[in-house]
C-alpha cells in the first residue's frame, strides 16, 4: 500500500493492521514519533492525519493509506509548527523530552484549527501525558503562540 508521510509517498509492504507508529519507526526509520503505551493512553505517538491529531500506536496503517500524514520530522516545514517549536524552546518546555514530539504535534493541530484557543480549548486538546510534569510549561507555550 501507499503511505504519504511528510509529502513523500512510500510503498509499504506490511500487514494491513500494523500500527502506523511501527511503520513510521521500523519500516521508514523515522524515530521522532515515540512509543509510550501502545493503547492510546499517553499520546507520545501523536501524528497528524489530514491535520487531525491521531494516536498512531492504535491506527492500522491500511486505514490511513493515501491520507496525508505529518510527523514531527516535518514540523518546521509548517508555519504554525515553527511557532510552536519556538514557543517550546522559549518556555524551556522539555525535560526528558520523550513525550514532547507528541505534545508539539497536538499543539500544532490545535493552533492550526483554532489560532486563538481559550483556556478550555487548550485543556481539551492538550491531553497527552508527561511523566516529567511539564504541563504548566506546555500550557504557557501554547498560550504564547495563541497570543502571537
Amino acid at each position: 500500500m501507499q503511505v504519504i508521510i511528510n509529502g513523500k509517498t512510500h510503498q509499504v509492504d506490511t500487514e494491513d493492521d500494523t500500527p502506523l507508529l511501527w511503520v513510521i519507526r521500523d519500516e521508514l526509520g523515522m524515530t521522532g514519533t515515540k512509543y509510550g503505551c501502545g493503547i492510546a493512553q499517553c499520546g507520545a505517538c501523536t501524528v497528524l492525519v489530514d491535520g487531525q491529531p491521531t494516536r498512531s500506536c492504535v491506527t492500522p496503517v491500511s486505514s490511513v493509506a493515501g491520507q496525508s500524514i505529518t510527523t514531527i520530522e516535518a514540523i518546521t516545514e509548517d508555519a504554525v509548527g515553527r511557532h510552536v517549536v519556538e514557543a517550546w524552546v522559549a518556555n524551556q518546555v522539555p525535560q526528558c523530552g520523550y513525550c514532547q514530539s507528541g505534545q508539539v504535534m497536538a499543539a500544532t493541530a490545535l493552533l492550526k484549527q483554532n489560532p486563538k484557543p481559550s483556556e478550555q480549548d487548550i485543556a481539551s486538546a492538550m491531553i497527552n501525558l508527561c511523566r516529567c510534569g511539564t504541563y504548566n510549561a506546555i500550557a504557557a507555550a501554547v498560550r504564547q503562540v495563541a497570543q502571537g
Partner: protein, 744 residues
C-alpha cells in the same frame, strides 16, 4: 540514593586533579583536540587503575575536547534524563574554561575508570550529580583554560600573565591580538596539565547561578533527540518478550510453536530465564508473535534465589507489615521516648501506609546488543551507572568487562528506574538473543511487559506514637517503619543497622521534640523493589508530616505555628518555613471560601531530602468527591545553586510526580502478579490535575544539596494535611483515589 551514598560511599572527594590524556590514542577524539581527563582524587590505587584502564582500553576517552571551530565536546560522567544535568555541566565547565555553555555538546561518557569521580564511584542518582562533581568540573575547565593560555603565550611569544581570555578565545591586549581556542587546541594538548589552577571568584560568575537555556530544548522539541529505543545499527533484528506472569516461573512447553514460527517476519523463538522471546525483522511482528505463543509456565526449581508466592497480594503484604512485631532495629534515639510516653498528658497513635509504585517513565526499557568480530560487545541501553551495567553485562556475556562498550543515550525519564535490578533490566536478554542469532538485536519491552517487571517503590507502613504535655506540646515521639528498603536490597543489609532508605524522612527530623525513637522493623519483600524518585522520602515524609498534623490537632495547635515553635533553634528551617508562608500570601489553614465559591483549605509540610531543605504548602478543594489541588507553593534551600531555571522546572516536575503518587498511583498485587499492565489500569497525573506551582529558591550558603528529588516529598503530606483541614478526615493510606469524599 541519598542514603546509599551515606552508607556505602565515603565523603565526597573534591580534589580531582586533571591529567592530560591527549597524547594517548583515543578513538573518537578528533586529531589535535585538547583532551583532559581527571586523576582520581586521594587514592593512588584508583588513579593507577584509571591510568591502566586508559592504556588497556584506548577507547576510554576523556572529558573535554575543543574542536577546531572552538566548540566544546564534554563527556559527562552523568546521564541526561530530563533533570538538566548536561546543561549544568556545561555551565560549570564553561564558567572556568571561559566558553559559552551554548557552544557545548554534552554526551554521556562511556564506562571507564576516568569517570568515577564520585570517590571512585559513578552513577546518576541521589540528586548528587552537581554537588558531587562541582569542584572537579570547575578544575577541569580551569586547567584547560590555563593550557590554552600557555599555548597562546608560546605562539605569540609573550608572557602568560599578559594574556586574558574571553569566551572562546585568548586575547593579548597589548597587541590587540586574539586567538580562538580552536586554533590553540592542538598546541594546548601537548602541554602538561598545570599542577594547580586558580578558580574564578564566585562574584564574577557569568553562567553559574544564571537561568542558562537548556542545551537540549530544541532537539527535544523537534523529535531529534535519540533515546535508546531509537537506536539502529546495520543488520539489526528486533525482539519482543513475553515474561512469566508471576516472577520466578520458567517457560515450559509451547503449544503452537509452528504457528508462531510461520508468522510474518519471524526469525526465531527463544527461551530465556523467566521469559520467552521472538526475534523478527520488525518489532511489531516480534511482539505479535511472542504474544501469540502459548507457553506453559512451570514452577521454578527449588534453588531459585527469590520466589514470588502464588498467593501473594498487596493486601496480604499490608496485613503482614501491620502485624510484624517491633521494636525493630534502632535508627535514632534521643532522650527516653518510652518513659516520656508513659508520663505524657495525652498520647496519639496512628498507623500509616503507602503502596507499591511503578516508575512509569514514558520510554519503555530497551537494549540493543551487537557482538563484534573482535569479540567485543556494544550495548546501547538506558542506564544510570555505566560501569555497574558494564560489569553485569560482561558476566551475562561471559567476556571481560573491558570488552563491553556501554553507550548511554539520553533517558526518556528515569526516576530511579534504570539501576541494576536483577530481572528488571532487558540487557541480559538482548545479549543472549544477539549471541543466539549472530546479529545485532534490539529488544524493546512493551509497556505491558514493563509493568510486569518494573522494580517497584516498596510498600511502606509506619506505626507512630506521640506523647503531649499538658500544654499540648509534643514531648515524645516513637516510630517503627516496617518493610524492606532498596538500599538494603541492592547494596547489602547491615545486621544491626536500620536501612536508611526505610527510615529517611522519619529519622533526622529537625523538630525539637526531646524524646524520640525511630526504628526499622525489617520484613523481606518478595517483589523486586527499587529506587523511586526521592526513595524512602517519597512516603516517609508523608507519614511523618501528616502524623505531625494529627499531633498538632490533638494539642489544639495550629500546624504551621507548631512547626515554627519547634524550629525556633533551627534558623535555616525556620527561615524556609516563613518563606513558603510568605510565598503563599501568608499562612491560612482554612477552610475558607475561594473567589470561585469553592470551599478550600491548605496544608503545610517540611522535608530534608538529599542535602536540601524544602517547605511546601498546598491548597485543595473537592470536586465530585475527588481532591483537586489548585496551587502548590515550594520554598527550597539547596544551599547554593547552578541554574535557577532548571531548579524551577525540577520542582514543577517533582510536584507533579509527588501529587500523582498522592492522588492516583498504586501497584496492586493479586495471586503473585501485578494487576495493572498499562496506564489504563495505573493512571498517572494527567494535565487537568496539574496545579499551579510557585517556587522560591533560598540560597542559605549551606553545602550544596540536591535538586532532582527534593521537591517531591513535601507534596503528599501538604495535600493530605489540606484535605484533613477541609474535611476533618485523616487519610492514613495512599492514594487518595481510594477515598470518596462528600463535596464540602
Amino acid at each position: 540514593m541519598n542514603s546509599m551514598n551515606h552508607d556505602f560511599l565515603a565523603a565526597d572527594s573534591l580534589e580531582g586533579r586533571p591529567v592530560n590524556l591527549s597524547r594517548r590514542s583515543f578513538v573518537g577524539a578528533s586529531l589535535g583536540a585538547l583532551v583532559l581527563g581527571v586523576a582520581l582524587p586521594g587514592s593512588r590505587a584508583l588513579a593507577q587503575t584509571a591510568a591502566a584502564a586508559a592504556k588497556a582500553a584506548p577507547r576510554v576517552s576523556a572529558f573535554l575536547e575543543i574542536r577546531a571551530d572552538s566548540s566544546v565536546l564534554l563527556r559527562s560522567p552523568f546521564i541526561e534524563g530530563g533533570q538538566g544535568i548536561a546543561t549544568a555541566m556545561a555551565q560549570i565547565v564553561g564558567e572556568e574554561l571561559d566558553a559559552d555553555p551554548a557552544s557545548f555538546t554534552v554526551e554521556c561518557a562511556p564506562a571507564g575508570s576516568d569517570y568515577r569521580i564520585m570517590n571512585g564511584q559513578r552513577f546518576t542518582g541521589g540528586s548528587r550529580s552537581v554537588r558531587s562533581s562541582y569542584e572537579t568540573m570547575r578544575r577541569i575547565g580551569a586547567s584547560a583554560r590555563q593550557m590554552l593560555l600557555q599555548a597562546a603565550a608560546n605562539r605569540l611569544q609573550v608572557p602568560v600573565a599578559s594574556l586574558t581570555t574571553e569566551p572562546g578565545r585568548v586575547r593579548h591586549a597589548a597587541s590587540n591580538r586574539t586567538l580562538d581556542y580552536g586554533t590553540l587546541a592542538t598546541d594546548a594538548a601537548a602541554l602538561p596539565v598545570p599542577e594547580s589552577v586558580t578558580l574564578r571568584d564566585e562574584k564574577d560568575f557569568r553562567w553559574i547561578g544564571k537561568p542558562v537555556a537548556r542545551l537540549d530544548a530544541r532537539d527535544k522539541s523537534t523529535g531529534k533527540a535519540v533515546y535508546s529505543i531509537d537506536m539502529q545499527v546495520d543488520g539489526m533484528l528486533r525482539a519482543a518478550v513475553q515474561h512469566a506472569p508471576r516472577l520466578s516461573l520458567e517457560p515450559g512447553a509451547f503449544a503452537n510453536e509452528a504457528e508462531v514460527k510461520a508468522m510474518p517476519g519471524v526469525h526465531s523463538i527463544h527461551r530465556l530465564p523467566g521469559a520467552v522471546a521472538v526475534v523478527a525483522d520488525r518489532w511489531w511482528r516480534a511482539r505479535r508473535a511472542v504474544e501469540t505463543l502459548k507457553v506453559t509456565w512451570d514452577e521454578p526449581v527449588s534453588s531459585a534465589s527469590r520466589k514470588m508466592p502464588a498467593d501473594y497480594s498487596s493486601e496480604g503484604r499490608k496485613a503482614q507489615l501491620a502485624a510484624a512485631p517491633g521494636p525493630g532495629v534502632t535508627a535514632e534515639t534521643v532522650g527516653d521516648a518510652a518513659a516520656a510516653l508513659k508520663g505524657a498528658a495525652k498520647t496519639v497513635t496512628a498507623t500509616y501506609d503507602a503502596p507499591y509504585l511503578a516508575h512509569g517513565q514514558l520510554e519503555p526499557p530497551s537494549a540493543l546488543a551487537r557482538w563484534n568480530d573482535d569479540g567485543t560487545l556494544d550495548l546501547w541501553l538506558p542506564n544510570q551507572a555505566p560501569e555497574m551495567f558494564q560489569g553485569l553485562a560482561a558476566k551475562a556475556a561471559g567476556i571481560p568487562p573491558e570488552k563491553v562498550k556501554i553507550h548511554s543515550p539520553v533517558l526518556g525519564g528515569f526516576f530511579g528506574r534504570h539501576f541494576i535490578y536483577e530481572t528488571a533490566n532487558p540487557f541480559p536478554q538482548a545479549i543472549l538473543l544477539s549471541k543466539a542469532v549472530g546479529r545485532p538485536v534490539k529488544l524493546i519491552w512493551s509497556r505491558e511487559e514493563e509493568f510486569l517487571r518494573d522494580a517497584l517503590r516498596p510498600m511502606g507502613l509506619v506505626r507512630f506514637r506521640a506523647g503531649l504535655d499538658a500544654n499540648g506540646m509534643p514531648v515524645a515521639f516513637d516510630a517503627e517503619a516496617v518493610g524492606e528498603g532498596p538500599v538494603g536490597r541492592w547494596f547489602g543489609r547491615k545486621p544491626d543497622a536500620a536501612d536508611s532508605s526505610s527510615v529517611e524522612g522519619i529519622s533526622g527530623k529537625p523538630y525539637a521534640i526531646p524524646n524520640r525513637r525511630v526504628a526499622h522493623v525489617v520484613v523481606d519483600d518478595p517483589a523486586i523493589i527499587g529506587f523511586w524518585r526521592s526513595v524512602g522520602h517519597s512516603m516517609n515524609d508523608f507519614f511523618y508530616e501528616t502524623f505531625f498534623d494529627e499531633v498538632a490537632d490533638a494539642g489544639k495547635q495550629d500546624p504551621f505555628e507548631l512547626r515554627l515553635r519547634l524550629l525556633a533553634d533551627k534558623p535555616r528551617h525556620k527561615t524556609l518555613l516563613e518563606a513558603v508562608g510568605e510565598l503563599s500570601g501568608g499562612w491560612k489553614r482554612g477552610p475558607f471560601t475561594a473567589p470561585d465559591g469553592s470551599k478550600r483549605a491548605r496544608g503545610v509540610a517540611m522535608a530534608s531530602p538529599f542535602g536540601s531543605e524544602v517547605a511546601t504548602i498546598a491548597e485543595v478543594s473537592l470536586k465530585s468527591g475527588a481532591v483537586a489541588v489548585h496551587d502548590v507553593w515550594v520554598a527550597i534551600d539547596p544551599g547554593r545553586i547552578v541554574n535557577p531555571g532548571i531548579i524551577e522546572a525540577q520542582v514543577n516536575s517533582a510536584v507533579a510526580l509527588g501529587l500523582s503518587s498522592a492522588l492516583l498511583e498504586e501497584v496492586v498485587y493479586a495471586k503473585g502478579v501485578p494487576q495493572a499492565r498499562n496506564f489504563d489500569g495505573y493512571p498517572i497525573l494527567p494535565p487537568d490535575r496539574m496545579p499551579r506551582v510557585h517556587v522560591r529558591i533560598v540560597e542559605s550558603g549551606a553545602p550544596m544539596g540536591g535538586i532532582g528529588e527534593p521537591g517531591l516529598p513535601g507534596v503528599p503530606p501538604a495535600v493530605v494535611n489540606a484535605v484533613a483541614a477541609l474535611t476533618g478526615q485523616r487519610v492514613r493510606s495512599l492514594p487518595l483515589s481510594k477515598m470518596k469524599f462528600g463535596d464540602t
